[in-house]
């Protein structure tokens, strides 16, 4: 399984790069296709022969014959139309007389029927009216009763509800008070915690700063011990040395960097002193160890 995994990964990377490459080509071809859309296709020029066939015809005779036939047909059509028109008018006259007679009979029958209908309707309406009045009275009585019941019920429900409301209000009040107290307590605790944390951080910071200044002092002591002071070195000397070291404190290189108020001989002697020291303090200072340190050398006279 472990031997298979690199092979599998190799295959996966291979196929991934293949699909990426394919995608690049597809995009490129699509662009080319779009770019050449409006090209006209190449067609070899085609030359095709044309043949025209013609027959000579006497047009004059042809037209006369056609016109005569047309005129005869029109004449026959007009005569036929006149006869049909007369026939239709006669038919219509007879139809109108028959309709007038039928209408008069129908009207007489209709009048009798309407009279009977009216009488029956008046009787029915009277009965209906009486019945309706009775029903309305009954309904009115029932409705009033229902209203009274409803009012009674509402009054009772209201009383119950107001009692419940009062209880709930009291409960809520208690809860709110408890919550407020808990919140205040929590805030006080958080505040305390924060203060503790801040103090702790400050203390650690201070420790680190202490350790760092101690580290610098140790370096100062060590370099001073290895320093062969040239006669030109004046008290009040301040020189910044950039020292590159490796874990364990071994010095890789030392150079003067930045401000230095000593002369050339002093500078050289300082670099030599660091190189002579060879190893800077390391045990106990791992926490503040840095690969490159800038170290200010001080000399204020013996």
């Amino acid at each position: 399984m472990t031997a298979l995994r690199p092979l599998l990964r190799e295959g996966w990377e291979q196929s991934k790069s293949l699909s990426l490459a394919l995608a690049v080509h597809i995009v490129a071809f699509a662009l080319i296709w779009l770019g050449t859309m409006n090209w006209t296709p190449f067609k070899p020029p085609q030359i095709t022969g044309m043949t025209i066939e013609a027959v000579m015809v006497d047009t004059q005779a042809l037209t006369e014959r056609r016109e005569r036939a047309l005129r005869e047909a029109e004449e026959a059509q007009r005569r036929e139309a006149q006869r049909a028109q007369r026939q239709r008018e006669l038919e219509a006259q007879r139809q109108r007389e028959r309709e007038a007679q039928e209408r008069a009979e129908a009207e007489a029958a209709e009048r009798q029927r309407q009279e009977a209908e009216r009488k029956r309707a008046a009787e029915l309406r009277l009965q209906e009216l009486r019945k309706r009045q009775q029903r309305e009275r009954d309904e009115e009585a029932a409705r009033l009763q229902a209203q009274r019941d409803e009012l009674q019920r509402q009054r009772e429900a209201l009383a119950r509800q107001s009692q419940l409301e009062a209880e709930r209000l009291k409960q809520l009040d208690d809860q709110r008070q408890a919550a407020a107290e808990a919140e205040a307590q929590k805030q006080r605790e958080a505040e305390l915690q924060r203060q503790l944390a801040a103090e702790e951080a400050q203390r650690r910071q201070g420790q680190r700063a202490d350790l760092r200044s101690q580290y610098m002092a140790t370096i100062q002591a060590q370099v001073t011990a290895d320093w062969k002071r040239p006669p030109t070195a004046q008290p009040g000397l301040r020189c910044t040395l950039a020292i590159v070291q490796i874990p364990g404190g071994e010095v890789i290189s030392a150079t003067i960097r930045g401000r230095c108020n000593g002369d050339e001989a002093t500078r050289r002697s300082l670099v030599a002193a660091v190189e002579r020291a060879g190893t800077l303090p390391y045990r106990g200072f791992e926490e503040v160890f840095e690969r490159e340190i800038n170290f200010v050398f001080r000399y204020d006279g013996d």
Binding site: Q14, S17, H25, F42, E250
Partner: protein
């Protein structure tokens, strides 16, 4: 319909030699793009790993514990890790033999690191030369296809009395597609080759630097061992 397919029609109607040239160029282009994507991922990973390792190495950890940690995780180390492991392993082996002079100790470690560096370089440069080959030869291959296509289309002119430009134009146009494809394959390959060979060079320089620094550290350690 014919208006939509004109480019494909040109390719389809091309002579066999021109079609073969086009297929070859397409394959070369695909292969070079594959290598471009793979190299890109590889180089990015190598740079990232080198950054990570350098930070870890110079953060002030103990070398022996770093060695133990690194040799424990399986699955082939690369780059600086590999250099460090090779050098430190050789150093320890020689030291355990005892009675070996400090110079020999450091020389042995340096030799082991040199071998690892050569392997690493080979791994990084692998297949980069293919890109150079595609970049320099595919324009010529495309040009060959074009010349061949133009030759055949002029051949067709020889048999007619009244020659028109319309008789040779399609042939020349189809032949020129081969040149276009050659350039299409060559340009990305050349760009990628230049870019990646520069990146590989810089990575190699970085590895070499690390090798020097590490052997100076080993040198100090060997000397202090000899004194102590």
């Amino acid at each position: 319909m014919s208006n939509d397919l004109h480019v494909w029609e040109l390719i389809r109607d091309a002579s066999l030699v021109v079609q073969a040239v086009m297929a070859l160029l397409l394959a070369a282009s695909l292969a070079s793009w594959m290598i471009i994507f793979r190299k890109r991922a590889l180089l990015a990973k190598a740079t990232r790993d080198a950054d990570k390792f350098e930070e870890r190495f110079w953060s002030g950890t103990d070398l022996t514990s770093l060695y133990n940690q690194l040799s424990r995780d399986q699955g082939g180390s690369h780059g600086m890790e590999r250099l460090f492991l090779a050098g430190f392993a050789e150093f320890n082996r020689l030291r355990e033999q005892g009675r070996v002079s400090p110079e020999r100790l450091v020389q042995g470690a340096e030799r082991a690191m040199h071998v690892a560096l050569t392997r690493e370089t080979d791994h990084l440069e692998h297949r980069l030369s293919f890109l150079a080959t595609v970049g320099s030869t595919s324009p010529y291959i495309g040009l060959f296809g074009t010349v061949w296509g133009i030759m055949t289309s002029f051949q067709a002119l020889a048999n007619v009395n009244q020659a028109t430009i319309a008789m040779v134009a399609p042939g020349i146009s189809e032949a020129l597609i081969a040149t276009a494809m050659g350039l299409f394959a060559a340009i990305p390959a050349v760009i990628a080759y230049n870019r990646y060979s520069n990146q590989v060079e810089r990575l190699e320089l970085r590895l070499d630097n690390f090798k020097e620094e590490f052997s100076s550290i080993l040198n100090r350690q060997a000397l202090s061992l000899a004194e102590g």
